[in-house]
């Protein structure tokens, strides 16, 4: 069950998208998300979807891996879809009963929302699939560098993030182990009311917390033993460099954003 949460898991192959500069990939993701929300008609959305599929094709990441990332928010998707489809205040009413009104505008809006959310989640997970957590934090660190001027601990923040990412799978395994141990002793996590279920989580949470502290303690020792003294006098092995792939990516994203905006203006907005 816990293995399904794939967010933050790197898919180790060497592809076009993998080799792009992490800083730009982050910027591209932000630009892409902006484009998704700037899209005012289905042409715009289609353009976004096209760019996403292009990125996916050149990422070497299996489609099912990316689709799996949507599973985590399936409930939210379903919930918003139903709410919007049933209660959106539109004009062209297809069917209504009591407070429920299914309208043309409502259905369009729902479809838009669905595509947007799908693209948003899949594209974000594509970033984490194609970028190592270290590269990602390097990218964030580099993008945040201006904050060093106001003495913001950028390096430390980046390190904390990368360690957090590193320990997610380990703590997941640990959670599963603890759960199995409790199940073996007759614990029941699946049945009963909310209060009972919440109470059943406590015996997982406490050992998990303890184990997380132990991990942190040991990791701290290991880091210190490997001469970690903070960002002072530290060198960096991986230097970020822009390449021709980044230029192509940049042109593509720039074209997408302008295209989406222009389509919104000239092809009419449906939303």
């Amino acid at each position: 069950m816990l293995k399904d949460v794939t967010f933050g898991q790197y898919y180790p192959v060497q592809s076009f998208v993998h080799r792009m500069d992490p800083r730009l990939k982050i910027v591209f993701l932000i630009a892409f998300i902006a484009a998704i929300f700037l899209a005012k008609n289905f042409y715009g959305l289609a353009a976004c979807a096209f760019v996403f599929l292009l990125a996916l094709a050149f990422s070497g990441v299996p489609v099912r891996k990316v689709l799996r990332s949507v599973k985590g928010i399936l409930f939210i998707l379903l919930f918003t879809t139903i709410l919007n489809a049933l209660f959106y205040n539109g004009e062209t009413v297809y069917w209504s009963w009591w407070i429920i009104r299914i309208t043309k505008e409502g259905l369009i809006f729902t479809a838009f929302l669905l595509v947007r959310l799908f693209l948003l989640v899949m594209c974000s997970s594509l970033l984490t699939y194609t970028t190592t957590p270290v590269a990602l934090t390097d990218g964030i660190e580099s993008l945040l560098t201006p904050l060093k001027w106001i003495r913001f601990p950028v390096h430390e923040l980046a390190l904390i993030m990368s360690i957090a990412l590193r320990f997610i799978p380990i703590l997941m395994d640990e959670t599963e182990r603890i759960m199995n141990a409790q199940k073996a002793r007759g614990a029941d996590f699946e049945t009963g009311g909310l209060a009972k279920r919440v109470r059943a989580i406590v015996p997982i949470l406490i050992p998990l917390l303890l184990s997380a502290f132990r991990c942190a303690d040991e990791l701290g020792d290991a880091m210190e033993a490997r001469c970690y003294m903070g960002s002072k006098n530290r060198t960096k092995y991986k230097k970020l460099r822009f390449g021709w792939r980044d230029l192509i990516g940049f042109l593509l994203i720039a074209a997408l954003v302008t295209g989406v905006v222009l389509m919104g203006i000239y092809l009419g907005a449906v939303i």
């Binding site: 180790p12 270290v134 390190l159 590193r166 290991a222 001469c227 530290r234 060198t235 092995y237």
Partner: protein
């Protein structure tokens, strides 16, 4: 020169009982020392005192003549003394093998071009070249621990302390790690302090030290120590079964050498038997 020297060192975790009590202990440069002891004997404390992760309450710890108690020496000392810990997962900082190995080298300010060379060297030394871009979570315990060793090697220390580094591994992983460690000592001249409760690992060492309740209770060549197996048992350390067989054979007048390799023992027995023309 003495790589590590403990002079009358005591340490307590603050609960009143001493984790280490008046320890005198030294490791020569290039030596391979095994520190044996049951749980709670103070052997891990010994490791942590050796590079300033813990500070002695009494006495003095020196690394290549530098006292650990002085904070300004710490960086230099940690560059020279690397520790590989017990849990392979909890000592990796990065999610990619090469980034993790780079971590230590980055910390000591090695220029970027040289870090690449050091990674190649370290991976080569542990025989894991093809895993440079792998993620640690997909590796076996023995492989992870070899990566942890590579992470320490990238700092180019003169001393490597293995603090129960094989305790969480399966027999195969243990063998992998021990091969690497033994090779580092023999071929690269690395000083090795192997802390363990697996007696068979101590056989590879030049010298073995047995600890019990915070004190050093036995010291000598591993073979010598294994001969005193009744005494070992009082410290909750048991010889592996094959060790007993060697001992009993010798007691019975068959001059076999201490070994934990079944085939080697069989050969030796065969030799002894043929010499006597039975």
């Amino acid at each position: 020169m003495k790589a590590i020297e403990f002079k009358n060192v005591s340490f307590s975790y603050g609960s009143g009982t001493f984790a280490l009590k008046n320890i005198d202990f030294a490791v020569e440069e290039g030596e391979f020392v095994a520190v044996l002891g049951h749980n709670g004997s103070g052997k891990s404390t010994l490791a942590r005192l050796s590079n300033g992760l813990l500070e002695a309450d009494g006495g003095e710890v020196c690394v290549f003549g530098l006292p650990v108690s002085e904070r300004k020496n710490l960086f230099e000392i940690r560059k020279n003394v690397g520790i590989v810990f017990q849990n392979p997962d909890n000592q990796m900082v990065a999610s990619i093998v090469e980034d993790d190995i780079a971590f230590g080298a980055e910390n000591i300010g090695v220029p970027r071009e040289e870090i690449g060379e050091r990674i190649s060297f370290a991976l080569g030394a542990v025989g894991m070249e093809e895993y440079r871009h792998a993620t640690p979570t997909r590796l076996s315990g023995g492989q992870k621990q070899r990566i942890a060793i590579a992470g320490v090697l990238a700092i180019r220390p003169k001393v490597m302390i293995l603090d129960e580094s094989t305790a969480m591994l399966d027999p195969r992983g243990r063998r992998e790690v021990m091969q690497v460690v033994s090779r580092l000592n023999k071929e690269e001249g690395m000083t090795v302090v192997l802390i363990t409760h697996f007696m068979e690992e101590a056989l590879m060492a030049d010298r073995a030290v047995v600890m019990n309740r915070g004190a050093i209770v036995m010291e000598g060549a591993p073979a010598e120590i294994f001969e005193r197996h009744e005494e070992l048992e009082t410290y909750n350390l048991a010889l592996p079964r094959i060790g007993y067989i060697c001992n009993r054979l010798r007691e019975g007048g068959m001059a076999v050498e201490d070994t934990l390799d079944v085939n080697k023992l069989a050969e030796e027995i065969a030799q002894c038997v043929s010499k006597r023309n039975i």
